[in-house]
Symmetry: C2
Subunit: 146 residues, 2 copies
């Protein structure tokens, strides 16, 4: 199992976090401003960054509980991998258990994507807590690979 | 292979990054202020946080190249796991390839530690670039687990 795992908690409702994961406006508020497409189950969402991007097919979406994507276009290492956001409430927090699973090799790019996902999930936390995230192209630079 | 992977790049020399990984003062500048012990090969470094801490045995340390620790005390899930910082230069950047390997299960705590490592590695980057990191207890809060 070559998976990238993360866990954040945001002081916001599961519904607010779910909206940030299942609407084009919400996704554009924390991952990349250049987001388009259909964020409903069966739809494909297109995320674009300066060097390229990812197309995600929405395989499952259960309000306040889970969002599951499959990568249908993007860098070769990503195609066929899956991204899951599992939500649950703990006190004042909505916990997001994140998994990007199905990597074929522990390549250097996987190391990079793991750190980058962490900073984007912190951007998601900031968005639902304060109304303002740090989506690309305003994202945190972590290295020479951006 | 249940490993936590990360990659950061800092505009600082490999020697500066190596010093931040192999001296008590350096480590206290980005991971936790409450760091003590012997950071040389064969030594044990004690890292303490409000809820507990970790003891790391330094298995290997090669200037500007690599630092390898084994966790000899701490939370049960961490004992026996290994932490590697691999360094290399790319242009103006020193790249840190990070691996925390040997987790036995993909428990929720592993998700948490992965995100937390990312924020501490960003603190390491800040320390070597600006002279000031964000070590515990001044670290970034990512959830209800701190």
């Amino acid at each position: 199992m070559l998976d990238i795992l993360h866990r954040i908690g945001a002081t916001a409702s599961p519904d607010a976090v779910y909206a940030a994961l299942t609407t084009v406006d919400g996704l554009a508020g924390w991952w990349t401003e250049d987001t388009s497409g259909d964020a409903g189950v069966g739809g494909v969402v297109r995320f674009r960054f300066i060097p390229g991007g990812f197309d995600m097919k929405v395989l499952d979406a259960r309000p306040g509980e889970l969002v599951l994507w499959e990568v249908v276009d993007g860098p070769e290492e990503w195609i066929g991998t899956r991204v899951t956001f599992e939500l649950k409430q703990e006190g004042d927090y909505t916990i997001v258990l994140f998994r990007h699973e199905g990597w074929r090799e522990q390549v250097e790019f996987m190391h990079h994507c793991s750190t980058k996902w962490a900073t984007y999930l912190m951007s998601l936390k900031r968005l639902v807590e304060t109304g303002k995230g740090e989506p690309a192209p305003h994202d945190v630079m972590i290295s020479n690979w951006h």
